[in-house]
């Protein structure tokens, strides 16, 4: 429920007609569940635990939550596809790593935690930023390098941050965010505020040494950190069986317990994250491996088909797509109709287009912004432009 309130306010006007329409739907189909009642749904496959008893397969959820999942995932999918076209139109430059196919991880995680808990991830961060309460305009403006972006246009695709809702970014170097995440958990333990940190990394980063170093220290200090491996089976262009001798990433913690989760099932992700949060506040770190898949290549400059077959990609899209799974659930439990779901998709598309238009209106940053935020307080340090005489600024 809280997720509904925290999504961009522009969507609130969209929510009212749909809630009433679902009520109408419910009455005409004479189901006896009201919009707040709980549903028990089984996850696609059972969880597999390493040194821990996995949680139950049955997930409690409500119709509102499922509708929420659907709407937000559709919005995320739409945003990533729009970013794809913006990149091809050269409005987004540099690196652009797209998250479509993996939305269930972002959504399920958000459903299980609060904004006081911290999330830190690598460069595939657009959807997680959205899930944490970032607005579409901020995201697109940052991608296009405009002033209204979340990092004032100075970060780019790989550096989205939202401090007030506990989103710590957005990091370009593979694996460097894992020690940072353990440090955030250290800060949470130091201040004893009962929150946890979710540190996301990919199957490629799972082979980084600093991950094991950080894991060792977190286990020694019982830090409230959950390491989530988003295993999309390809580290850039290298398949996981060619990069890792042991691709069972949830077992790699050795003395640290692990859980393998179907990352394309938002409800399974939600169950695992809730379980992990409770575990970690008492017992120290845990590793979650999310078995997920990305439809795009590693980034926009990678077609994504040189190291895997198109059949594989379309196969996963047909059988395991996270949005389709929620759609089928909604239709099977008669919580919505085909037409309503199509309308949601259309309005998401419209919303994304409006956000892009608004972001395009935002200007590029002022040249003086080159020198702001280098230091917290520049102490009169000077910085020079190319010709050493004309462009001089005192760092503020």
């Amino acid at each position: 429920m809280s997720l509904i309130k925290q999504i961009a306010s522009s969507r609130s006007s969209l929510l009212k007609p749909f809630i009433t329409s679902t009520n109408l739907v419910r009455r005409s189909f004479s189901s006896d569940s009201s919009s707040e009642s709980a549903l028990s749904i089984e996850t696609s496959i059972p969880f597999i635990g390493h040194r821990i008893d996995p949680p139950s397969r049955t997930v409690e959820t409500t119709p509102n939550e499922l509708m929420d999942f659907f709407k937000t995932m559709v919005l995320m999918r739409r945003m990533e596809i729009a970013a794809d076209s913006l990149y091809k139109a050269k409005l987004i430059r540099g690196f652009c790593h797209l998250y479509d196919g993996q939305e269930a991880v972002a959504i399920g995680m958000e459903a299980a935690i609060t904004k006081k808990d911290a999330i830190i991830t690598a460069y595939r961060d657009h959807c997680i930023f959205l899930g944490r309460g970032g607005t579409l305009v901020e995201a697109f403006a940052e991608l296009m390098g405009r002033r209204d972006g979340c990092s004032k246009g100075k970060g780019g695709s790989m550096h989205f941050y939202k401090k007030d809702s506990g989103f710590f970014g957005g990091h370009g170097i593979v694996g460097a965010q894992v020690p940072l995440g353990c440090g955030i958990a250290f800060g949470q333990k130091y201040s004893k505020d009962g929150s946890v940190t979710f540190t996301l990394y990919g199957d490629g980063a799972a082979n980084q040494g600093q991950l094991f170093e950080a894991l060792n220290m977190s286990a020694l200090l019982d830090l409230p950190v959950i390491l989530v491996c988003e295993n999309n089976h390809y580290g850039m262009g290298t398949a996981e069986w060619r990069a890792a001798k042991s691709p069972a990433y949830y077992k790699r913690g050795d003395y640290v317990p692990g859980l393998k989760v179907d990352g394309m099932d938002a409800l399974a992700v939600k169950q695992a994250c809730k379980f992990a949060k409770e575990y970690v506040l008492k017992n120290g770190p845990i590793i979650l491996e999310m078995d997920t898949y990305r439809y795009h290549g590693h980034s926009m400059s990678d077609p994504g088909s040189t190291y895997r077959t198109r059949d594989e990609i379309s196969g996963v899209r047909q059988e395991r797509d996270p949005i389709e799974r929620i759609r089928k659930l909604l239709l099977a439990h008669e919580l919505s109709t085909e037409k309503d779901l199509k309308d949601i998709e259309k309005s998401a598309r419209k919303e994304v287009d409006e956000a892009i238009a608004k972001a395009k209106e935002s200007p590029m940053p002022d040249p003086s912004e080159l020198f702001t935020n280098v230091y917290v307080k520049g102490y009169g340090v000077e910085s020079f432009g190319a010709d050493r005489k004309e462009l001089r600024a005192v760092l503020p």
């Binding site: 941050y161 401090k163 170097i173 955030i184 170093e213 950080a214 220290m217 200090l221």
Partner: protein
């Protein structure tokens, strides 16, 4: 060497006791408008920011006389201690003052610190605040930076500065640049400190000078301490600063003894220290080379030269204000440093001086640095990689012709 350090200690004690609390505004009135950099205002509040004025006594007079004179003029008494104790005092006072300050490093807790800088702090503050880490520089530096993102103020200790090369990614990308790439959302108030520099027969890998590698990382400040007085002041200022600060200590300077004031003082992170005012030539130096320069200065005074010695202390950004005023007076510059010739602090300082003060120079800027070789183990060879006082004297004589 011991006699020299004690004599120097006495001189420094004298200069620090004579320093009055000059406000920055009075310094500003001497600011000449041409190419100097305007001095910024600093927050003062209740902190007494001391600036060590140059003392007027000439070098070479009897140190015992000076010490006797200093006890008469000193205000509160002061207490004598070694440099590592001064660092510890500064650290302890800051940890008492702010519960968010914590120490992260190898052997800092139960062992007491490999150079005793954190001795007994774990007993006083507990194991979480003085954290013993495994030998994993990359990740514990990353962890401290992550903790700083949540509001803590960690002091990261590298057992030897050279080990922090393993953490270079974290220091460069996450420490230096995070404030910028997040558009100002996150501040990283960490202090990264550790001993570096050429010691006694430590070998190449344990005698590295990392100032040159870190100096181009945007967003960090670098300072180097050389006396117990400025070690404590700079440590406190670094902890209180909102920017990431790298504090360079030197392995051979940990046992320097000096009398420092009892009352609390914090030095400015961007100021240089006037060690010995003079007329003929400006000698810029930092860290251990300060003592080689002062030793050479004794010889130079006997030969009739009057060098002005400035300990630049702030390696990034340079205190071009003090340096500029000195160059305008003397018109000759000699830089003596322990960094390598190629791409070292001296190289950047030479470029900065040439750009800003070219009109005031009567002779080209001369830079004496260590040789561009790995530091050998053999004592005689090691001596020759580093600048020796005799070379400083020769260089001054050449410049002053």
């Amino acid at each position: 060497m011991a006699a020299v350090s004690q004599a120097i200690a006495a001189t420094v004690a004298l200069s620090s006791s004579n320093s009055s609390t000059t406000s920055f505004e009075s310094k500003r009135s001497r600011f000449l408008p041409i190419k100097s950099i305007p001095f910024s205002e600093s927050k003062k509040g209740k902190i007494v920011a001391c600036r060590s004025n140059g003392n007027n006594s000439s070098f070479g007079s009897n140190p015992r006389e000076k010490a006797a004179a200093s006890t008469e003029t000193k205000s509160g008494g002061g207490h004598e201690l070694l440099l590592f104790e001064a660092l510890r005092e500064g650290l302890e006072e800051e940890m008492d003052r702010d519960p968010r300050v914590c120490v992260v490093g190898e052997d800092v807790g139960h062992y007491g610190g490999s150079y005793k800088v954190t001795k007994d702090l774990a007993n006083k503050f507990g194991d979480l605040r003085v954290l013993d880490t495994p030998i994993a520089e990359n990740s514990f530096t990353g962890m401290a930076i992550g903790a700083a993102m949540t509001g803590l103020r960690p002091v990261i200790e590298g057992m030897n500065m050279g080990f922090l090369l393993l953490a270079f990614n974290q220091i460069s990308n996450n420490c230096g640049m995070l404030h910028y790439t997040s558009g100002g959302q996150f501040t990283i108030p960490v202090v990264i400190r550790g001993p570096g520099g050429v010691g006694r027969n430590l070998g190449a890998e344990h005698s590295q000078r990392l100032e040159s590698y870190f100096q181009s990382i945007p967003g960090i400040q670098m300072v180097a301490c050389s006396t117990p007085y400025n070690a404590k002041g700079l440590m406190k200022a670094a902890i209180r600063s909102e920017n990431p600060v790298i504090l360079f200590e030197h392995v051979l300077l940990y046992n320097l003894k000096e009398t420092i004031p009892d009352e609390e003082y914090v030095l400015s992170l961007e100021e240089a220290e006037m060690v010995r005012p003079g007329e003929h030539i400006t000698i810029l130096t930092y860290s251990r080379m300060r003592y080689h320069v002062m030793q050479a200065a004794k010889t130079l005074v006997n030969k009739g030269y009057d060098p002005e010695v400035i300990d630049i202390r702030s390696l990034k950004p340079f205190d071009l204000y003090t340096i500029g005023n000195s160059i305008k007076k003397t018109h000759r510059v000699l830089i003596v440093e322990e960094c390598m010739r190629t791409g070292g602090i001296g190289a950047s300082l030479t470029a900065a001086i040439n750009e800003n003060f070219n009109d005031y120079l009567d002779a080209p800027v001369k830079c004496l640095s260590s040789q561009d070789v790995p530091t050998p183990y053999a004592g005689t060879l090691e001596e020759w990689t580093v600048v020796q006082p005799a070379q400083i004297v020769t260089a001054v004589e050449q410049l002053c012709q």
